[in-house]
Structures are given as C-alpha cells and as structure tokens.
Amino acid sequence: MQTYDPAMSIWPVSADRLDLAREFKANVRGPYSEDLRRLLYRMRTGPLAGKYVLLVIEPYRQWAIGRLGSHRGDPIARVDNRVFTSLDGAEWAVFELRWRDLTGQVLEL
C-alpha cells in the first residue's frame, strides 16, 4: 500500500532566499512563484510529529499556533501565548517558525 513519507519533500531550503519570505508575507494566499511553491511544499509536508496547526480559540475570530505531539493522539500543545485575529497573520507566523526550523535562522526581513 502507498503511505505518506516526509521524504517525498526534499527541496533544499536556503536561508538566503529572503525574496520568497517577502513574497509569502505580501501574498499569503497566493498564487505563488514556482520557487515559493516548492518552499511551501517542503514546509507543509510534515513530518506529523511536531507539525504546526492553528487552534481555534474563538470561531472565525481568534487562533493560536499549536503543535502535534510526537505520537498520534497526543494533545496539541500551544507553542506560545500569541493569539491571532487574522488567519493570514497566523499563517505568516507559522511560516516564520518553519523558516527557523528548516534553516536554523530567525527570519528577519
């Protein structure tokens, strides 16, 4: 049977590609340039352990960033106390976290 595997996403992420971060920040919902699509695919393709999600704090109004646990069914833990009042803002904040996780560098534009 087919199974999902994080190895299906291997595009190398470079901390030098601040142009892609700027593009995403300016246009969170796309459409995106080809390289930004590759970067997003890399960011979004797991692994499930520690994957970021948005926890709905108040429907349609407030979200917080959570992370899946290391095992299926573990509680989703909030990563910090930030509460976002726009989905785009929350999406951008997850992008920043993933940038840091993948490049080892804090994203500063």
Binding site: T45, P59, E91
Partner: protein, 760 residues
C-alpha cells in the same frame, strides 16, 4: 467559549420518521444536570458571513432535564465465543494459528484467551510488550505464570504460532515460525518448560480471539489488549496432537477429518458479510465478531490468483482486527423520545445544554414512503456523512496541508477527536497500524455531522435547506439510507429530487434507484460535486454501518491492500464507481475531475446556453455574467471538488454543457484517475480537464437532470441575501422542474471533449 464536547451523544436510530421512538444516549463530563430539547435545523453553519446557525425548537416534544453521567467507550474488535463449554473443559490443549501482526508498539496484545480478570484464572495467548509470543496462565488461586519466547514476531509478516498447554501442571511449549527467512534476523523461536499451574475447570467466561475480557464496575464485559493484525485459521486441538498434524490442521479445510484431536477450528471465510464466526470443528463453537473487524481480507495463503473473496474463499480465511475498531459504543439510554406522528421531515438534533455547554446530537427525520408532504425531496447524504464521520485527516494525514494549501485549523471538536481516539474513525482515516478504515457507524457520537466548523458535507448541505425556506418552497427530506431501502418507490413520489453538495457515497441499490427515477420521468438536480464516486456497502448484519474500500485509484487518503478491494458487506467490487463501468457522468452528465481547495472560482455561460430551449435556466442572468464569483467556500460557486462533462465516460449524448468554469488557477488539481502517465501539467493553468461544467439533459418520460458539478454551489446561495445568479439559476431550474410539462432539450450537444484521451 461554549464547549461542544463536554456533552457527547448519539441517537438510536440515526434515521427515523414521525411516530418513531428514538433513544438518546449521552455522556457528560463534569455536568451535574443538563437540559435537552428537540430542534429542527435550518442552517447548521455558524459562519457569520452566511445566514448563521438557525433552528427551530419542536415544542410538541417535551423538554427533558437529566442528570449528567459519563459513559465509557471500549474500542477494539474481537471474536467472542459465549458457549465455551468444550473449551472450558479443555485444560490440556494446543492452540495454533497463522498471524500477521501489524503494530508492534510496545503494548501487550492478546490473540486468544479464556480468562477471568477478577480471579486471574485461565489463559491468554498473545504478544508481549516486546512483540514475542507469550502465554499468561493462572489457576485463580494466586499462582500465575507469564511465559514468552522473548523473540519478537516480525510486523506485517505471516507467522505460524503454536502454544501447547498441559494445564495439569505439565509442560508448556510456545513456538513461532515466520513464513519467510531473513538471514541475520530471528524468524523462529520457541520456549519450553513447566509453569507449575494447574488450571482445573476453566472459568465461565467467553473465549475470545484478538482480545481478553475485562469488566466495568457495572459488570459489563468489554475487551482489552486488543490485537492489531490478521489472524487466520485459529485452531484448538488436544495437547497430544503431533506437531506436523497441528500444522496440517491449520492448513486443512476439513477439520472433522482430524477426529477427536480437534476441539475447535474456526473458518473466518464463512459468513464474511455477517458477525457470525463459524467453527468447522466437532463442537460447533460458534462465535460472534464485535466492533466490526475487517473481513474479506487476504489470508496467509493468498496467491493473487483472485481478488474476489467469493471466488476464492479459502484464501480469505483471515480477519484483520484493530485495537481501535468501533461499531457500537453500547451506551445506556438517557431518555427516549416519541416523535410526533406529524413531525415534518428534516435535519434534526437533540440540543443539550448545561452551563458553558451546548451540543447538537444529530438525527434525521425522513418523510414516510407513501406519504410525501412536498413535491421536492432533498436527499440527506447520510452515507457520505458517515463516511466522513469523526475524520482525523487534519492531524493524522501528512498531506492534508498540501491538499488544502493552508495550515490546518483545529476546532474544539477536532482537538477532542485527536485526543479521544475511542470515538472511532472515518473512512478517510487510518487505524493505529496504518491500515485504512473500511467501516463507519452511527452508534457513536458523530462530531462532524452537526453544527460546527467542520463544513465539508453535512453543514454545507443545510445551506440548501435555508435557501428553500427563504424561497418558501416546501420540501421533504429523505436520506441515502431511505433510497437504499425503498428505491424507486420512494423517489417516484417526488417531482424533483435534489442531491446536494457532496453525495459521494452510493450503494448499488441507490445508484439503480436514482437512475430508474431519472429514466421514469424524474427530475434530478445535482447541486454538488464529486458525487456518486465510491461504491458503498450497506448491511443488514451491521445496520448502523457503511463500508467502503478505497482500492487502488481515485483521490484517497489511504490505499487499500492488494486483493482487498471487494466489499465485505456485499461481495461487490469496491472502489470507484468509475472503475466498475458507472462513471458519474452516466448518471449526472458530469463526474469528478479535480480538487480545488485553495480558492473557488466562477462559471461562464457557453454558446449553447443561449439556445431558446434552455433560456429558462438563465432567466435574469446576463449572457456574459460571471456565475458565482462569490460564496462562503473559497469565494466562488465552483470549488472544493469539481466535475466535468465527458462523453467517453458516459455523459449522455443529449446532454448540453451550459456553463463552464474560468480562472480555476493553479489550485485546481486533476484527480488521480484523470491521468494515466505522469505529467507536470496537472493544474488548471495547463490542463483543461480541471474544470466544472454545468450540464442539463432530458431523460425518458419527461424527466431531466441538471448538474452543477461543484461542492461549493450550495454555499453560494445565501450571498447578498439570496439575490444572486447562483440562486437565480437554481430557482429557475427548480421552478421549471416542478412544472410537469415535459422538458424539451434539443439534441445539439457541443462536443467539447478531448477526443482520444491524454496518452500518446
């Protein structure tokens, strides 16, 4: 925030009619008392951009005040043999089976047991925490032994296991042998010795396969240490049986030929569609399956010569058990409701409230067959709602975020589902062992089929109800299950039948009924997308469940195992309707082409739409208007999942495409069965198959079909207070379809097909 999960419940039966008695079963977390009332849902979508959550309380049913209590759920499938007399006397025995463990996760799991947890008397054969074959044996007087080969079985590999027990204090022997050898890896092991346990007459407990018993405080028996994996041909023989004879007994289909040596020889290939477990040995130790394990699955001897368990039953002698299977929570009833005889049909719920809590426990009231109250029937897609019930895809599937092109939003109910796996799975999920979920039942809380943030089918469908009410159009609600049961007799009562946003799961009886309805003058409006896609199984043995097998093509969140595409409930080939010669295009003119989850788009009229005979569709709609460039799902009427017209796949030759999508964009991605060889051109910027078509055609005896080919269509209806071109077109067609005058659609199709397919 008000909690929707501190009270959970289900209504039995989920689908009922006026005059029926229904049982309401609740579980409350730290809630001393609750209030409950019956409501009819008009719009189940709390999205503030739409009509909002709307319901009416049914005053003719008395409100209930009750005391909250917690009720447990015990998932895990197993077999129980209640009349275990011959097994209780068999204190000197040999157990053997072929096993295929699928999850060795450090948890002990039981393969066979006759065990009293209170007295610790009896035996439990299984895998220990290390995954090694193990035996626990106790005399009920404090003497207990735990024995193990200490060598793990290999996951996803068949092994032959034997356990010999001389329960008079004699020799114990455990062996396992992997079917294949892998140099450097232990593939066989054994343990032999004395346990010093005298079993005496075994306890009056059911014998279990794939689990062992435990008891609630109330005395209710349930199963623990449930096994994950397949068991094939379990046998129990007298301890004196020789090793080669025991192996032969497992392989044999004629247990009686082994005479007195045999005590039990269960054949799971018999009665696959049922809960019955057949014993072909001399004692007829019949069992019952609990919590719907997967049957009709390949056994240790499956050789690929047939994919059909009906044609090669001897190769389908296994059951795949899962520790997280769930068919029936088995909760006690908190209160019963007698529905008024004259209660109108609809989407209903028991609204349960307590301070800080509000939960809608869904059920459906159908119009009675023979007593329609309106000329229009709206089909509640109950098979689809079940297929998606309690989906865990947002947090269990690696690819979800790619599919939806955004970080997954997890609501309170979804976070609850993540942590409370005991609520069971949707057919989109995988079990803990990675295998796909075949079955979904309504004898459990259904957190995705109620008002809330999960909108994909149930909630979206209610936008049509809200719109019809605004329009003042009377309608009946009937369910998928009603169509399955009553067929054309039910449908033919209605001048118009509307299938809504996502009627994806259809049984053969449903498909036949809808087709017969169309062919006999019925008027069918298909106001959705990706409909009529998966062949679905219903069962008299499991009336609360549906079954589906994902097979090897189609947009799937998991892939079936080879040889396991045949429905266990019916024996029919499962998977896509398209794969069995009934592409959705045959029924509706359009069929699934693409997903488009990042944003939705609009349609533009085709040249054909300007024909005089079709003018009624577009009354009040300009020739060059964008149709549906608005809506609650992605901002357009064409989105989420979309369907296209294709004469090769069976769109009727007299069908006419009257509108098609524009600007689908790169988010529109071709479905898996729509391309044959790999290509980079899978998106709508490059691939013209990624589109939604609106089509119409006449059917015999004055019938007609109108299809929009998009899940997002109904959620565009409320835009601008209902004053919009999606609503106008829907109303135009509905009005015309209600008019008994025969519909004349001239036969002048604009063949916009692609000709010979997409492979050179």
């Amino acid at each position: 925030m008000t909690s929707a999960t501190r009270v959970l419940g289900y209504v039995d039966p989920l689908m009922c009619g006026g005059g029926d008695h229904v049982a309401v079963k609740l579980s409350c977390e730290d809630i001393p008392s609750y209030r409950a009332e019956i409501v009819r849902l008009i719009c189940a979508d709390p999205d503030p951009r739409g009509p909002g959550l709307r319901y009416e309380t049914i005053d003719t049913v008395a409100r209930v005040t009750g005391v909250g209590r917690r009720q447990a759920i015990h998932p895990g499938s197993f077999v129980r043999v209640d009349d275990s007399g011959a097994l209780r006397r068999a204190t000197r025995f040999a157990f053997a089976a072929m096993v295929f463990p699928t999850l060795l996760d450090g948890r002990a799991q039981t393969i066979a047991s006759l065990w009293d947890p209170a007295t610790r008397h009896g035996y439990a054969i299984g895998l220990d925490e290390a995954g090694a074959l193990a035996l626990r044996i106790g005399d009920g007087n404090g003497t207990l032994a735990s024995l193990s080969t200490a060598t793990p079985l290999l996951a996803r590999t068949w092994s032959f296991i034997t356990v010999r027990v001389d329960g008079d204090g004699g020799r114990i022997e455990l062996t396992h042998a992997c079917r294949a050898e892998f140099p450097g890896i232990a593939t066989m092991a054994s343990w032999e010795g004395l346990a010093g346990v005298k079993l005496g007459e075994l306890p009056a407990m059911p014998f279990m396969l794939a689990a062992e018993p435990a008891r609630e405080k109330s005395g209710r028996l349930f199963a623990v240490h449930a096994f994950n994996g397949k068991i094939d041909r379990p046998r129990i023989a007298d301890v004196s049986i020789a090793a080669e004879r025991l192996r032969a007994l497992v392989e044999s289909d004629d247990a009686l030929a082994f005479g007195d040596e045999v005590i039990a020889a269960w054949d799971f290939a018999v009665d696959i569609p049922t809960t019955r477990i057949h014993d072909c040995g001399p004692n007829a130790l019949r069992g019952t399956s609990v919590n719907c394990p997967a049957r009709g699955v390949t056994g240790h001897n499956w050789d690929g010569s047939s994919e059909d368990w009906r044609a090669a039953p001897k190769q389908y002698g296994a059951i795949h058990f899962h520790s997280d299977d769930l068919y029936d929570c088995g909760w006690e009833t908190d209160f019963e409701v007698t529905l008024p005889q004259a209660l109108r049909s609809g989407f209903y719920a028991v609204r349960v409230t307590a301070p800080g809590c509000e939960t809608f426990v869904p059920f459906f009231v159908s119009a009675r067959s023979g007593a329609p109250a309106a000329p229009v029937a709206v089909v509640a897609a109950t098979a689809t709602y079940l297929a998606y019930a309690n989906t865990h895809v947002k947090f269990d599937s690696l690819n979800s975020e790619n599919l939806f092109e955004s970080v997954m939003q997890v609501s309170e109910q979804e976070a609850y589902l993540n942590e409370h796996r005991e609520l069971g799975y949707s057919t989109y999920d995988i079990h803990a062992d990675g295998s796909g979920v075949f079955y979904s039942s309504w004898l459990r809380p259904l957190l995705t089929a109620q008002p809330g943030l999960y909108t994909f089918n149930y909630v979206n469908d209610t936008h049509l109800l809200a719109w019809l009410e605004t329009l003042g159009q009377s309608y009946d609600v009937i369910t998928d299950h009603d169509i399955h049961r009553h067929g054309l007799t039910l449908l033919s009562q209605y001048r118009v039948v509307i299938t809504v946003s996502h009627p994806e799961y259809f049984s053969t009886a449903m498909w036949d009924a809808l087709f017969a309805y169309q062919q006999n003058g019925g008027r069918h409006m298909y106001l959705g997308g990706n409909g009529f896609y998966w062949r679905t199984g219903f069962s008299d043995a499991f009336p609360a469940a549906i079954e589906m097998r994902r097979g090897i093509t189609g947009v799937r969140t998991w892939e079936g195992e080879p040889g396991e595409s045949q429905l266990g409930f019916t024996g029919e080939p499962g998977g896509l309707w398209r794969s069995v010669g009934r592409a959705p295009q045959q029924l509706c003119g359009v069929g699934f082409s693409a997903t488009i989850f990042n944003r939705s788009t609009y349609y533009r009229r085709t040249a054909q739409s300007r024909r005089e005979d079709l003018a009624f569709i577009f009354a009040g709609v300009g020739e060059d208007e964008r149709i549906g460039d608005f809506g609650l799902r992605g901002g357009g009427a064409a989105g989420l999942e979309i369907d296209r017209w294709d004469h090769v796949l069976g769109s009727p030759p007299n069908s006419v495409v009257v509108a098609t999508t524009e600007a689908v964009g790169i988010g529109g991605l071709l479905s898996v069965e729509e391309f044959i060889t790999t290509t980079r051109a899978l998106d709508a910027e490059q691939n013209g198959k990624v589109r939604a078509d609106i089509c119409i055609f006449a059917t015999p005896r004055g019938g007609a079909v109108f299809s929009v080919g998009s899940i997002a269509w109904p959620t565009s209806l409320p835009h601008n207070g209902g004053d919009n071109n999606v609503a106008r077109i829907t109303a135009n067609v509905l009005r015309r379809f209600l008019d008994p005058a025969a519909l004349v659609v001239a036969q002048a199709p604009e063949a916009r097909g692609e000709g010979g397919g997409d492979v050179g």
